[in-house]
C-alpha cells in the first residue's frame, strides 16, 4: 500500500494443497471464475480474484482460507501454484518495504475503497505516512482523556468525540489516516474481537496542538444497514469509555487518503455522519495554518438528518466563509423538503465544476456506502452541464491522486 507501486505489498489468495480435497466447491461458487484446477491442484488466479470471500464458507476443509503477502507485481503465478505440494512459507517483508497489514485491516480497507472506482495514489505533496507501527501482536495502550456527545440529546444517533492520549508512544498520524481499535474480551466463539478502523478526527499535531494525542468520531451502532437491531461491539465499547480508561489500539493505517501540503492546494470534501472525521482533521490542519496565508480553498458538503445530528455543527458554523465554503444538507428537517449532499452539489454546479477541473484541488468522499451513487450521478450532471465528461474525468482524477473515497 505504499506510494511506490514496485514495493507495494498485497494479499494473495491461495489454496492449501495439503488440506484441499479437490471437491470443486470453490470453483463452482466463485462469482468471477477465479478458481481453476488441473489434475493436481485447485488454484486461484491472482489477476481475477477480487478477494470477495464468497468461496470461504462453502469450503468443507478450510484449505481455501489461506493468504500470502506478496509484492503486488510478483504474485505466485498459476503455474507455480499448480506445481505446489504444500504452501510456500510466508515471506517476511521488512518495514521499509511495507510491512504486512493485519487481515482485518486489509479486508476493511478493500471494502471501504470498493466505490472509489480504481486505485488512487496519495497527492504528490502529501506527507509520507507512518503505517503499522503497532500490530495486533504488539499493540499500543492509549488512555482516554475525554469522551463527550456531539449530537443533541434528542437526536436519533449518539455520536461521540473521544480523545486518546498516547503518552510517550511514537504513533504519528496524518489527517485521513485511521487507527484500529480492538475491543477487550472475545466473541461468541471465544475468539478475540476483530479490529475496527476509525478515521482520526484530529490533525497531525494532535487534538490539542503539540500534545501526543488524537481524537476519534464514533457513532454508537445500534442497528445494521438494514435497520435490524444489533449492537456494535467496538463502537459501544468506545462510546461507554470513561476518562482514564485504557484502550488497545493498532496502526496507524492508510497511505493514500491523505491531504496535499503544497501552497495553493484546495480541498473539496463530501461527507455524511461520522465520515466527517477526516474532513474535520484536514479542516483543522488548514485552520491552524491560516496565518501562513498558503492559499487554496476549502469547500465542504456535509449531510445529516438535521442540525442536531451533525457532529461538529457548532464549530463549523463559526468558521469564516472566506476560509471554508460549508454546505449543509438536512434530510429530515421538519417542514422542509429532504435535501441530500448530491442536491447541493448540483445547486453549486459552477463552483464544483471549477474545482473538478483545477489540478490543485483534491476531492474526498467519506460516509455511508449509500451516498456513493448519488454523488457520482451529481458529478456526472455537473460535468455534463459544464461541457465535461465525468466518465472520462474520473480515471484522470484517480491517476493524479485527486479523488479519494472511503465508504462503509
Amino acid at each position: 500500500m505504499g506510494r511506490d507501486d514496485a514495493a507495494e505489498i498485497v494479499r494473495q489468495h491461495v489454496i492449501d494443497p495439503e488440506i484441499c480435497i479437490r471437491c470443486n466447491t470453490c470453483e463452482e461458487t466463485c462469482p468471477v471464475h477465479a478458481v481453476t484446477h488441473d489434475s493436481r491442484n485447485y488454484v486461484v488466479d491472482p489477476n481475477i480474484c477480487k478477494t470477495c470471500g464468497t468461496c470461504i464458507a462453502p469450503c468443507p476443509t478450510g484449505a481455501i482460507d489461506n493468504w500470502r503477502q506478496v509484492e503486488k507485481f510478483k504474485p505466485y503465478s498459476l503455474d507455480e501454484q499448480l506445481s505446489w505440494d504444500s504452501l510456500p512459507s510466508p515471506v517476511e517483508f521488512d518495514g521499509t518495504v511495507g510491512a504486512a497489514l493485519p487481515d482485518d485491516v486489509e479486508r476493511l480497507t478493500t471494502e471501504a475503497r470498493a466505490g472509489q472506482g480504481g486505485v488512487a495514489p496519495a497527492p504528490w505533496s502529501a506527507e509520507s505516512p507512518s503505517v503499522n507501527i503497532c500490530t495486533p501482536s504488539n499493540p499500543a495502550i492509549a488512555t482516554v482523556t475525554a469522551n463527550f456527545r456531539l449530537t443533541d440529546d434528542n437526536a436519533s444517533s449518539d455520536i461521540r468525540h473521544i480523545i486518546l492520549d498516547l503518552g510517550n508512544l511514537p504513533f504519528p498520524v496524518l489527517e485521513g489516516q485511521s487507527i484500529g481499535v480492538i475491543a477487550p474480551g472475545a466473541d461468541a466463539n471465544g475468539r478475540p474481537h476483530h479490529i475496527r478502523l476509525y478515521s482520526v478526527a484530529s490533525p497531525r499535531d494532535g487534538e490539542k496542538p503539540n500534545h501526543n494525542n488524537l481524537s476519534l468520531t464514533v457513532k454508537r451502532v445500534t442497528e445494521d444497514h438494514d435497520g435490524r437491531k444489533m449492537r456494535g461491539v467496538a463502537s459501544n465499547y468506545l462510546c461507554d469509555l470513561r476518562k482514564g480508561d485504557p484502550v488497545t489500539i493498532v496502526g496507524p493505517y492508510g497511505t493514500t487518503f491523505l491531504m496535499p501540503n503544497h501552497s495553493g492546494s484546495s480541498l473539496l470534501m463530501i461527507c455524511t455522519g461520522t465520515g466527517s472525521a477526516p474532513m474535520r482533521a484536514m479542516t483543522e490542519r488548514r485552520r491552524r495554518r491560516r496565518m501562513l496565508k498558503e492559499g487554496g480553498e476549502l469547500m465542504l458538503f456535509f449531510g445529516a438528518r438535521g442540525p442536531g445530528e451533525l457532529p461538529y455543527f457548532g464549530p463549523l458554523t463559526k468558521l469564516p466563509r472566506d476560509f471554508i465554503d460549508v454546505n449543509f444538507a438536512f434530510s429530515r428537517e421538519p417542514g422542509k423538503p429532504k435535501t441530500y449532499v448530491q442536491d447541493l452539489i448540483r445547486a453549486r454546479a459552477t463552483e464544483v465544476a471549477r474545482l473538478l477541473q483545477d489540478d490543485n484541488c483534491y476531492i474526498y468522499v467519506c460516509g455511508l456506502k449509500g451516498m456513493e451513487d448519488g454523488i457520482k450521478d451529481a458529478f456526472r450532471e455537473v460535468c455534463m452541464s459544464n461541457g465535461m465528461s465525468w466518465d472520462a474525468l474520473q480515471p484522470q482524477l484517480l491517476a493524479k491522486g485527486r479523488f479519494h473515497a472511503e465508504t462503509y
Binding site: I21, R22, S39, R40, A57, G62
Partner: protein
C-alpha cells in the same frame, strides 16, 4: 431465497403455499424423527454437537455453526436457485425447456432414480450408527454426526420430490424409505454396498472417501437432469457431500500419517511390530482400500446398460460435467471402451457410448479416486516411509456385470478360483484384520486428545482450535 425457519419444516420452496403437500410432509416428519431415534447415531440424542446448519442456499448462508441436539437439527428442503430459461442440455430433448413437472412417459424411471438415490441416505446413517461409541476424538465424533445429519437432510431432499411430484406412489415410496433397513435379510436397502457393515473407523473413512464419492458422481449426473427440481436439489446436496469426502480423505490421511510416523520412529515395516505399537499397518489399510473401492465400483451398475442409455436419451440423468463435454450431447453412433471376458480373459471392446454410460461415470470416479490416493501417498512419503497405496484393477472383486463371472487379482491378472482362494487374505480384509482394527477402537472424549492410531488434523472445524469441545455430553 432465504430459508423460512419459522415453519415446522424449514424450506425455500414455499411449502406454505401448497397446504396438501405441507400436511403430507408434516405427517412424514414424525415418522422420520422416530426412525432417527431408532436407527440414528446410538446414544446421542442429548449430546450438544457443534454442527453447521444451512440458513440460506447462497454461499454465505449455508455454513452456520452452533451447538445443536441432533433430534432438533433443522432438517429441511433446500433447492439451489432456479436458473431462468434453463434448457435440457443432452439427449433427445436437448434444447427444450427444462421440465418443471414430471413428464408422464418418464415418470416410472424418474421415480426409480429418486428412490434409489434416496435409499442410500438413511442406509448410511444405519450403517454408521454404532461408530459414535468408539470415536477417536471429539473432533471426529462431531464430523461423524455432521455426516449423519446431512445424510438425513439428503433423505428429506428426495422425499420432498417424491411427495411433491409423484402423488400416492411417491408417498408410499417415502414410507418405504423409512422401513427398509441396512443389512436386513428380509427388507434390505436397495444397493449392495449399503448393506455392508461399517464396523470401525477405518471402514468409515474408506466409506466416506469412496462410497460418498460415488454419491458425488451420481449427484453430479443428476444435477444435469432435465427435470429441474431434481437438478436443483442435487446441486445443493453436492455442496454438503463435499464435507463427507473431506472426512474420508483427511481421516485416512491422518491414519497413514500416524502409521508412517511410528514406522519412521521405530525404523520398521513389520506389520506385527506396527500393530503391537497400536497403529494400523499399511498392508491392512491397503486391504480395506481394495474392499471399499471394489464394492463402490459396483454401485455404478452394469458396464453395458440399456437403462443408462434410456436415462440419458430421455434427459433424466446426464454425465459428470455434461456441460464441459465438447461432443454433441446426444452420443448416438459413438463408442466407448468396456471390459469383457472372452475365454476367461479380460479384453477391451467398444460398446455404444449410450449403453456404456455407467462405465464412463465409473471411469470418472476412478480418476478422482486415484488422485486422492496419490495425496495419501504424499503424506506417507513425507514421514520418510517408502510405501505406496494403490487402487486395485477395476475388474478386481466385482459382483455386478460380466466381471462378476471371473476372478481378477488387484494387478489385473485373471486368476483361477484356487489362486484367488490362496491369496484373497492378502487382497481383502480378513476377519483377523477386522478384529485387530476393532481392538484399537476405544473412545476418546477429552478435548484435543486423539487415539494413538490417528494423527491430529491440521486444523479445526470453522477455524476453531483442535482442542475445542466439538461435542458436549449431557
Amino acid at each position: 431465497m432465504s430459508i423460512d425457519y419459522s415453519e415446522k419444516i424449514p424450506n425455500n420452496v414455499d411449502l406454505a403455499g401448497d397446504k396438501a403437500l405441507q400436511r403430507a410432509l408434516e405427517h412424514w416428519q414424525p415418522e422420520f424423527l422416530s426412525w432417527w431415534k431408532d436407527m440414528g447415531p446410538e446414544g446421542s440424542l442429548n449430546h450438544d454437537v457443534y454442527l453447521r446448519t444451512a440458513v440460506s442456499v447462497e454461499p454465505g448462508g449455508w455454513a452456520n455453526f452452533g451447538y445443536v441436539k441432533m433430534p432438533e437439527y433443522r432438517w429441511g428442503i433446500f433447492l439451489n436457485p432456479a436458473e431462468a430459461d434453463r434448457k435440457i442440455q443432452f439427449g433427445d430433448h436437448k434444447g427444450e425447456p427444462a421440465w418443471q413437472d414430471v413428464p408422464g412417459e418418464h415418470r416410472g424411471n424418474l421415480r426409480r432414480i429418486i428412490v434409489t438415490q434416496g435409499d442410500t441416505e438413511p442406509a448410511s446413517v444405519e450403517q454408521q450408527r454404532h461408530l459414535g461409541l468408539t470415536a477417536p476424538s471429539l473432533y471426529d465424533l462431531r464430523n461423524l454426526f455432521q455426516v449423519n445429519v446431512e445424510e438425513g437432510r439428503h433423505l428429506w431432499a428426495m422425499v420432498y420430490l417424491l411427495h411433491r411430484y409423484f402423488g400416492r406412489d411417491g408417498r408410499e415410496e417415502a414410507e418405504a424409505l423409512l422401513e427398509r433397513r441396512s443389512g436386513d435379510r428380509d427388507n434390505p436397502r436397495i444397493l449392495g454396498a449399503f448393506n455392508e457393515r461399517t464396523p470401525d473407523w477405518l471402514a468409515f473413512f474408506m466409506f466416506t472417501y469412496f462410497t460418498d464419492r460415488d454419491g458425488k458422481f451420481q449427484l453430479s449426473a443428476l444435477a444435469e437432469s432435465g427435470f429441474d427440481p431434481l437438478a436443483r436439489t442435487s446441486k445443493f446436496m453436492l455442496t454438503e457431500e463435499a464435507h463427507h469426502m473431506f472426512v474420508g480423505e483427511s481421516g485416512v490421511a491422518r491414519i497413514v500419517q500416524r502409521t508412517g510416523e511410528i514406522m519412521a520412529r521405530e525404523k520398521t515395516d513389520d506389520s506385527a511390530k506396527i500393530r503391537s505399537l497400536g497403529a494400523i499397518d499399511l498392508a491392512t489399510v491397503q486391504r480395506y482400500l481394495n474392499f471399499h473401492y471394489s464394492v463402490t465400483l459396483d454401485l455404478f451398475g452394469s458396464d453395458v446398460s440399456s437403462n443408462a442409455a434410456t436415462f440419458y436419451s430421455s434427459g433424466l440423468k446426464g454425465r459428470f460435467e455434461e456441460s464441459k463435454q465438447s461432443d454433441d450431447h446426444v452420443l448416438k453412433n459413438m463408442t466407448y471402451p468396456v471390459l469383457e471376458v472372452v475365454d476367461g480373459k479380460l479384453i477391451e471392446r467398444q460398446a455404444p457410448t449410450l449403453n456404456a454410460l455407467n462405465e464412463r461415470l465409473r471411469d470418472d470416479f476412478i480418476r478422482d479416486s486415484v488422485a486422492g490416493v496419490g495425496r495419501w501417498n504424499r503424506v506417507i512419503s513425507k514421514t520418510g516411509v517408502n510405501f505406496e497405496l494403490k487402487v486395485p484393477h477395476k475388474a478386481f472383486n466385482r459382483r455386478i456385470g460380466p466381471l462378476a463371472q471371473i476372478r481378477v487379482a488387484p494387478d489385473g491378472r485373471v486368476v483361477s478360483q484356487a489362486e484367488w482362494d490362496a491369496n484373497v487374505h492378502h487382497w481383502l480384509p480378513t476377519p483377523e484384520d477386522r478384529a485387530f482394527v476393532q481392538t484399537l477402537m476405544g473412545r476418546v472424549v477429552e478435548p484435543g486428545k486423539f487415539a494413538n492410531w490417528i494423527a491430529a488434523p491440521a486444523m479445526g472445524i470453522n477455524k476453531q482450535p483442535i482442542n475445542f469441545e466439538y461435542v458436549r455430553f449431557s
